[in-house]
Amino acid sequence: MKRRDFIKKAGVITTGSLLIPSFLKANMFSSKLLLSKKRLVVIQLSGGNDGLNAVIPYGIDEYYQNRTAIGIAEKELLKIGDKFGFNPKLKGLHDLHQKGMLSIINSVGYPNPNRSHFRSMDIWHTASDSDEYLQNGWLGRYLDNNCEHAYEGIEIGGSLSLAMSGHDHSGIALTNPQAFYDTIHSDFFNELGDPVTENGELNYLYKVFNDTKDSAQYIYDQYKLKSNPTQYGGNQFGKKLKQIATLIKSDIQTPIFYTELGGFDTHVNQNPFQDRLFDMLNGGVTSFVDDLEKDGLMKDTTIVIFSEFGRRLKENASRGTDHGAANVMFVIDSDLNSNAVSGFNQIDLTDLEKGDPKYKVDFRSVYQEVLTQTLGVNAEQVLGRPFDRVKLWG
């Protein structure tokens, strides 16, 4: 007897699916996301991706002057206009840009940049100022305001990012829907029930416990609804995106997905390392977009790609680069306005602060746009105040 069959026989699944909110069951097979305008998929490039070698400003002299060892030759680039070109490893992203589906936002950062991975990542996750410490993430605050269940924010990874952690509602992190289901479903857990007590902490724990069980059940049920035979590029990273695509295809009611590709801290011998990472990024994202487009699901999806900081303009003595500040962000979506796609010029390699290009766009302006346009909510509730508009849609 297969394990799953055994559990079925034991009646666990029946119990579990009864716990799925009925409005979801009713809409289980409609192809509409109920909870937000579109769904958001965030891809975090950890370690500080060198944006200047991702979208190369080949038309700006300072680029080659400062990067004699690791600068990428003009003839190798996938050009976009007379000043910029994609890294040859990012062919899929270049294609998306040509199709008008990818916006390059250059020089994204924040005032008084912090060059520590941890602190800068915190700032990006919480959308705080650089001298402010917030305990919850920007997506967590979205979940607080708009969501009820853990499955409404799914991170494919071992632990939940601060970005996805709210005060009252947080997302759920898992590496594999079945394994996660197995972790939280056992006869013992299913029998534990829900004691009514006056202990607020205990009530909170049981609330999270029951929501975790329901969410694990719901995610796993959705995950196995349809098999997804699509082959993905991008190795392990591609596999994570494939899990996300498989869930999206099931019409799961999840407005936010989150995942990470790590290893971008290229202090030494940067180019071969970054090439391998870009192969994964490019392969994974290209397969993902194709896979969703095949089912007409890309029209309801926005992908945001960011890193905690960019890297120093001037290469170091080890054919690498050190921690920098402002960086490039990518937003992939099928409804971008044409200016958002063609307007990637805001970069100035002569106006530096501690050797790093200064930021021109506050990252929270991009968050604000995504909150408003993709998730369809009041961004100020999440970000605390308005930021200059970066117009990507409309």
């Binding site: 007897m1 394990r3 055994f6 941890f118 602190r119 915190d122 001298d131 410490y133 305990q135 853990a150 071992g158 632990s159 939940l160 601060l162 952690s165 005060h167 947080s170 997302g171 759920i172 992190a173 898992l174 996660f180 972790t183 939280i184 056992s186 006869d187 013992f188 857990f189 534990l192 029930g193 004691p195 007590t197 202990n199 607020g200 902490e201 205990l202 909170y204 724990l205 049981y206 999270v208 416990f209 929501d211 975790t212 969410s215 694990a216 202090h267 030494v268 170091n316 003595a317 080890s318 690498g320």
Partner: protein, 445 residues
Amino acid sequence: MKLTNRDKYHLHSRTEFFVHHIEIVKTDDCEKAVDAIFKKQKLEPLEFKLPKWNPEANKKLSQKQRMERNKKWRKEVGEINALWIKRMTEKDKGLIEKMTLFWHGHFACRTSDNPYLTLEMNNLLRDNALGNFRDLLYAVSKSASMIAYLHLRQNKKGKPNEDFARELCELFTLGRDVDYTEKDVTEIARAFTGWSTDPYGKHIIKVKQHDDGEKLIFGKTGNFSGEDVLEMILKNENCAKRIASKAYKFFVQEDEVEEHVNELSVALFNSNYDIKVMMKHLFQADWFYKAQGKLIKGPIEYLVGMAKMFDLEYPDKKAIGGIQHYMGQVLFDPPNVAGWAGGRQWIDASRLALRLRLGSLILNRGYVMDELSPELDEMLKGKVKKKDLKFYEKVDWEAFWKKNKDASMFDLFIRNNNETLKRDYDVSDVKSIIRLISTPDFQLT
């Protein structure tokens, strides 16, 4: 006040993570019980053998050598992490180590990439953990760790860096926007200009970088130094109040009762910041005994408690670091200078799922119960990954029963009153214990 067995379990788990039934205090008198726990504490620095610090050698490294050194350093910090966990389980050190953990969260300083700084900060927190808050504040402010972390070296005359000044007021002493203004922060930064360390980590004030001009701080004018500022802050009762409030949230319960916090604050302030006086007051207060099961265990409390319950060793140093990461609290690596948010923030869906499985993963290879069908059991066995097994430890159950033969298992492990759980699983067998430690209730202390 007379203590019941349940009160004693509560007192021991809050003060020293956990003790077995035969080790609980014999006296029923609350005052004497608390005194006994304080009295048995032994203050011993954490020692870890590192090569003698050589500032010259560290200057000359190539980029590649630097990366290799950093890797070695991070590994060493991992070993110090495991060493501290082990230290916390020692029976005459629980309270002093728990206090050190408390201060680690209060004076949160990330030292996880440098074992020298890690030991410096950890030992100074321990030295003063039950000492005087004034000494502690001075020691932290003058430590190489905090000077590096909050950029005091970059704080120079004419070019102040406000990082330390701001966190000193906001996080370490007064609390956000309590009795200070933005202007005070700027002026306090000036008072701390020149604070630095010599190449060996000893605190110095670089006279040339120090701004000895007149400053206006907290409404007073003078040529204030950094130490003057610390004294001005300590004179403000709101400093004691903030420390009291943090201790209350860490040791009593999440929801503050102002009256109780005020008692602690007065005890601290009137004793001229004697931490021991405040903590004794806390553990002897009747409201402390009404707060049983009102706190969610932090990951370190969970892991250390578990180690003490079943005499575990956690031999795999990498696994203990990894599990801290997944649970959301890695020693020496707080998320930022504000420390761990704690309380309900320890728990999200994934972390709770992990916690519910962790006890059975450690004691029973991941199985919560033992009535699985043989087939399923086999299948699960095949699925257990090698890396999971590093967390599996053989428990000496015979020794455990000997130490806890007169205890109710429910009372020993569970702090709240869940009648159903007590009815079904208050049984002295391994099966019931594994179930008790696999509940949401077990997450409370």
